[in-house]
């Protein structure tokens, strides 16, 4: 056929960003029949996933830094425009969002409380996330950022775990909004100081802010966003939020939303205020180190299955921040890969936790056991996720963590020595879960409830596991893209060489 799917004139990023939210609005117009709603949602998610795959495949590593660019003037008097483009770092993250959205919809098949609104909110959230990843305009980035955050409150407070949902939803919303306000102040400071009358981040990056300005404002911008990345000591919203949220929302939350924080901290904090980054990174890496070790320590002794995964996210996201804080290319590449790898891995974890909880009606590790006999595929998937999380070679976790530790060693060897403790701790809590939850004796109370999962749920787990193993065995499918993205921003930030 003559149709060129990579044709310049198709505004892929605009479609990807707007499709979910438009579909969400349409969903509301549909009759509230469960099957219909689910099928439409699944259709939309599938189309979105395919589009993100197209963008991923269409991204030319040897091409320009920013591709699939699209610009629509919006408020020219303030220099705000709708400017979309992806680079080597954000393209895989767009794909990640597509993957998590697709699998999240499948996992939510059994949501029977107001499914229409549930999927509508989830899609609004997805639109917000896509928007942040593809925006090159600072104002629009904030705009989408808030769109991504606000449905979270409702998704948790309405569909969440009855015990803690209100507390957790409130805690999460407060943390994230305060964080974004702090970052916004920094962003406005940049806008006014630059005198360029533009929110275009490419222009702002060339604005040559004075060193004093950068040193003053970097902590605001960076920390404001890093809250969403779960940086210590502002991480506490995240385990509580993960646990209270319904499965698909936990997947979105830990899988994508936390990446949003790290990504925005990179794009707005480090890329626009590189000198500030160089000044302040020594304590940022210390905070990240606390994240890494502290989260792992806590995860080791939690009795709630979901809290273990929640705190493991705190630990693993610490590695992302740590990678960025090295300010060298290896650290950056590792951190970028970790964003993708952890996103898929943690989505898989939460999906499995959700399946186990749905059937066993408990998440207390001592009350579980022998689940593997009943749920073979989820067990296998969880083990794959576990191996990723331990940084086992052949899985994506290793491809991410190896460059991170390499980078950290180059920058601060002592921190690397302390941080590797987390690898041992991670192995310990993963093994604990695998042996206590999936193997061993099945307690009589839960044995009657356990049964195998549906075929579509297996498909979702399969999609997630595919990327974890694929990236681990064949890093060439994605890492060169990240590496190219990092290489292109390296001179701007003044990243150390290899």
């Amino acid at each position: 056929m003559g149709l060129n799917v990579f044709a310049e004139e198709i505004p892929y990023l605009l479609i990807i960003t707007l499709l979910p939210i438009v579909a969400g609005a349409l969903l509301l117009a549909l009759p509230n029949r469960h099957k219909l709603i689910y099928n439409v949602a699944l259709g939309v998610a599938t189309v979105t996933l395919l589009l993100t795959v197209l963008v991923f495949l269409g991204f030319d590593i040897n091409g320009d830094q920013y591709q699939f660019a699209d610009e629509y003037t919006w408020l020219p008097q303030f220099g705000i425009s709708l400017k979309f483009a992806v680079d080597g770092i954000s393209t895989p993250l767009v794909l990640l969002t597509g993957i998590v959205m697709f699998t999240g919809v499948i996992i939510s098949q059994r949501i029977d409380d107001r499914p229409r609104e549930f999927f509508a909110f989830m899609f609004i959230l997805a639109s917000g996330v896509f928007g942040v990843f593809v925006s090159l305009d600072l104002f629009m980035l904030f705009f989408f950022y808030e769109i991504a955050v606000f449905p979270m409150y409702l998704l948790i407070a309405i569909w969440g775990w009855k015990e803690t949902r209100e507390y957790a939803a409130m805690k999460l919303t407060l943390y994230l909004f305060i964080g974004s306000v702090v970052a916004l102040i920094g962003a406005l400071a940049m806008y006014f100081t630059s005198g360029l009358n533009t929110f275009d981040m490419v222009d702002l990056a060339a604005a040559n802010f004075s060193t004093e300005f950068q040193n003053l404002w970097f902590p605001f911008v960076f920390l404001g966003f890093a809250v969403l990345g779960g940086i210590w000591p502002f991480h506490n919203w995240s385990p509580d939020g993960h646990v209270a949220a319904p499965t698909a929302v936990s997947m979105f939350h830990a899988g994508v939303l936390m990446k949003l924080g790290a990504f925005a901290a990179l794009r707005v904090g480090i890329m626009l205020l590189p000198e500030g980054a160089h000044t302040h990174m020594w304590w940022v890496i210390l905070l990240a180190l606390v994240n890494v070790v502290y989260g792992a320590f806590i995860a080791m002794r939690q009795n709630d299955f979901k809290y273990v995964i929640g705190f493991s996210s705190v630990s693993h996201m610490g590695l992302v921040v740590m990678g960025f804080a090295t300010l060298n290319q290896n650290g950056f590449i590792g951190a970028s890969v970790q964003m993708f790898s952890h996103g898929v891995m943690t989505a898989l974890f939460f999906a499995v936790v959700g399946m186990v909880y749905d059937q066993a009606h408990t998440r207390q590790i001592p009350e579980l056991g022998g689940v593997g006999k009943y749920m073979k595929i989820p067990t296998l998937a969880f083990i794959i996720g576990g191996l990723v999380s331990m940084g086992m070679p052949g899985f994506s976790g290793f491809v991410a963590e190896f460059p991170i530790f390499m980078g950290v060693w180059q920058a601060y060897p002592w921190i690397a020595i302390v941080a590797v403790i987390s690898i041992v701790l991670t192995a310990s809590y993963i093994i604990r879960i695998v042996s206590k939850v999936f193997f061993g004796e099945t307690p009589a109370e839960i044995a009657d409830h356990l049964h195998d999962v549906t075929r579509s749920e297996k498909l979702a787990l399969g999609v997630l596991a595919f990327f974890l193993v694929g990236l681990g065995v064949f890093p060439g499918m994605m890492v060169p893209m990240f590496a190219e993205g990092v290489r292109q921003i390296a001179p701007l930030i003044g990243l150390g060489g290899f």
Partner: protein
């Protein structure tokens, strides 16, 4: 065929076998063993082809086989995966593929292939036996392992890891193989996962080796930071790089080391974990919970050898700093002696061998520490053969004893306790003779056995290079080795049967005894390729091929000792023969119900060594306790929930308080006055809005979002100029 291509192919058959068995043949025991053993056979053939080509090339060390492809792109350049066969690898390939093949074949018989399914056997537990009707009477026979196919899948994956490690041309690929083996070790130690002891042992092994692994990972990171490459040839064969590494001080000035010294030390910690050296040795004896072929393959012949192989491989870097080498010598010698003392007081036939493995690995590490590169590599090879032989032999013994247990039906008798055995030489002649050969090789029985030549070379190097402390420590360890080997031989095979079960023991099937015989061939002859030329009378009859060939791996060909000194030779003869005779004397006539004759004279020391110097208890007390304390009470409850959440809640309460104050003091009196006025207006407005309003917050939010996006579309469509 092009050797480079062959090398790439070597690791693949077992990996394919793993996939095929897991996906397709897992219901058929016959197909699974054919696939498993077949894959090991193909790898063995490939390995042998490469080996033969390699030894046919003069000065092979100067132009080894190798090729690589890009794998993980990084900041500058990319990591490659690649293969390399140089003299050291060629020798490794030979013994690794051979032992692996033998163990695969042995496993077929060990897991009772062809026997009926057990009456009550369940997955995750060793088979208990099956009842067979024979006309009017019935008897119990061994039953087939319930997870037979899974076993072959796992050891296939393991073999893939080991082959990958051996043929890799850089530290990264080596580490990949290293970790795959660690994982398989976990899976296979915990193979009988329904036994809590097996589960605990698997966890312990995995966690302990992982401590070593993370330091090794740091060492790799450091090496890469310093040199920009992890390729063996670019680092180890490049004098310039080596000189730089030696000249640069270590990061942080740690212990006055050079960069090479710290890198070497970090890598060495990886070996300490993998090869079970003090202080990370505690996992290996517990690992005996796995099936015996696993003990033989992973915990004697291959995986633990991989740790030593890595330091042998990295020797040019380690040799750059005296302190690193010194540390290795101390740790190796101490481990050799300590483990040997523990082995003396163990009653479990496999545990004796486990401690003996730790001790022998200590010999190799100590040898490297004193710079005896060739001797360490030599002992690595010979040890793999005779230790695999001994482990498989012990498996055969246990099998025979289990036969007896099935016959008597008394399941309280531990078939692994040597005090329950005795007199097995008559019942199991092949096992006896091969075990004897293996035991003699381990003790270093003079002139004939492989163990003698390699151990003697270590001792001779220690003496010749004036490391007298190391020499005497290792000599004592060698004496103890010969003693506990004599003890083991006598307790197991000597004297008369001490239990009913031992009387009814039974020789194993041919698929188990053939590997024993083949391995015993190598347990003798593998030593003959490395007889020093300076040894009187027989020296020079056979050329010292091993020295010349493996020595070519190094940039600077190591020199053989220039003169012959009789003291080490006499010492090794005396300790070997003395230890064996002593063991024979003390244990030749143990009767049923007798105590260990050592118990009385040794007194409290006996309890101390029998309890393995209490290392397990010490570690539990310190590390496990500390980690628990740190994670739950301190980090979680105190820091996370009390300090961080506490301050958050405090702020929230103050905010509520402030809100109340605003409400009472400002909002009520001042604002409300105005608000009431506005309120009446809102009231009217509300009447209109009632139609839009459904009372559901989420719908409001959606309306808000829709309005926002409506606005966006409006601007896109009408205001903006694309």
């Amino acid at each position: 065929m092009n050797p480079e291509l062959l090398i790439w192919l070597i690791p693949l058959p077992p990996l394919l076998a793993f996939g095929v068995i897991t996906l397709f043949t897992n219901r058929s025991n016959a197909a699974s063993s054919w696939v498993g053993v077949g894959s090991a056979f193909i790898s063995w053939v490939l390995g042998l082809l490469v080996f033969i080509q390699a030894i046919g090339i003069d000065h092979f060390g100067e132009h080894p086989f190798g090729s690589s492809v890009e794998w993980l792109p990084l900041g500058s350049g990319a990591f490659s995966i690649g293969v390399l066969v140089d003299p050291l690898t060629a020798v490794m390939l030979f013994f690794v593929t051979t032992t692996v093949l033998m163990i695969f074949i042995y496993s077929v018989g060990y897991h009772n292939y062809g026997q009926p399914k057990g009456d009550h056997d369940q997955k995750g537990l060793p088979p208990h036996g099956a009842t067979v009707e024979h006309g009017d009477h019935s008897h119990t026979v061994p039953s087939v392992e319930p997870m037979y196919a899974r076993f072959f899948a796992f050891i296939g994956l393991f073999a893939f890891g080991m082959f990958t490690l051996v043929v890799s041309d850089n530290l990264l690929t080596l580490f990949v193989g290293w970790e795959i083996m660690g994982l398989c070790s976990y899976l296979l130690i915990g193979f009988w996962y329904a036994k809590p002891s097996a589960r605990d042992a698997a966890k312990k092994a995995f966690m302990t080796t992982r401590v070593g692994d993370v330091f090794m990972l740091l060492g790799i990171a450091y090496l890469y930071t310093e040199t920009g490459t992890l390729n063996f040839r670019n680092i180890l064969y490049n004098q310039e790089v080596l000189d730089t590494l030696a000249a640069n001080p270590a990061i942080g000035g740690f212990w006055g080391l050079s960069a090479a010294g710290l890198i070497g030390l970090l890598l060495f910690i990886g070996t300490v974990g993998k090869s079970a050296q003090f202080p990370l040795h505690v996992w290996l004896p517990d690992a005996m919970e796995g099936p015996t072929p696993v003990s033989a393959m992973i915990h004697a012949a291959t995986m633990v050898s991989a740790g030593v192989y890595m330091v042998v491989r990295m020797f040019p870097i380690l040799a750059l700093d005296e302190k690193t080498l010194g540390t290795m010598a101390v740790i190796g010698a101490f481990t050799a002696l300590m483990a040997a003392t523990i082995a003396v007081a163990q009653n479990d036939v496999k545990r004796v061998l486990a401690y003996s493995t730790i001790s022998q690995l200590g010999f190799m590490v100590a040898a490297l520490g004193i710079g005896a590169y060739i001797a360490a590599a030599f002992h690595l090879v010979t040890h793999a053969f005779f230790k695999a032989l001994l482990f498989l032999g012990s498996g055969s013994v246990i099998h025979g004893m289990e036969h007896g247990v099935l016959h008597t039906g008394n399941h309280k008798v531990d078939p692994q306790d040597m005090f329950n055995m005795g007199g097995l030489r008559k019942k199991m002649p092949i096992t006896f003779w091969t075990f004897l050969i293996g035991g003699f090789a381990l003790s270093g029985f003079p002139l004939v056995t492989a163990g003698f030549w390699s151990k003697d070379e270590i001792l001779a190097d220690a003496w010749g290079h004036h490391h007298y402390v190391v020499f005497w420590v290792l000599a004592i360890a060698a004496l103890l080795t010969a003693f506990y080997t004599g003890r083991q031989l006598m307790l197991t095979f000597g004297g008369e049967a001490r239990t009913e079960e031992a009387k009814h023991a039974h020789e194993s099937v041919p698929s188990m005894t053939w590997p024993l015989m083949i391995l015993s061939f190598f347990a003798i002859t593998a030593g003959w390729v490395g007889i020093p030329e300076k040894i009187p009378v027989i020296g020079g009859l056979l050329p010292n091929w091993f020295h010349d060939f493996v020595g070519g791996t190094l940039l600077k060909h190591p020199e053989a000792l220039s003169s012959f000194d009789p003291i080490p030779l006499i010492t090794s003869v005396i300790v070997a023969l003395g230890g064996l005779s002593l063991g024979w004397l003390v244990y030749r006539n143990i009767k049923a119900g007798d105590e260990d004759p050592l118990k009385k004279p040794l007194g409290e020391i006996y309890g101390y060594i029998q309890n393995k110097w209490y290392w397990d208890e010490i570690y539990n007390g310190i590390f496990v306790h500390l980690a628990n304390l740190l994670s739950e009470p301190f980090t979680y409850r105190f820091l996370d929930r009390t300090v961080i959440d506490g301050s958050l809640h405090w702020i929230a309460q103050r905010a509520f308080g402030l809100g109340g104050w605003f409400r009472d003091k400002i909002d009520g009196p001042i604002v409300n006055g105005f608000g009431d006025f506005v309120g009446s207006f809102t009231n009217r407005f509300g009447h209109v809005m009632r139609y839009v309003q459904t009372g559901r917050v989420q719908q409001y939010m959606i309306w808000a979002a829709l309005v926002a996006f409506g606005g966006l579309f409006y601007f896109l469509a009408f205001v903006s100029t694309p």
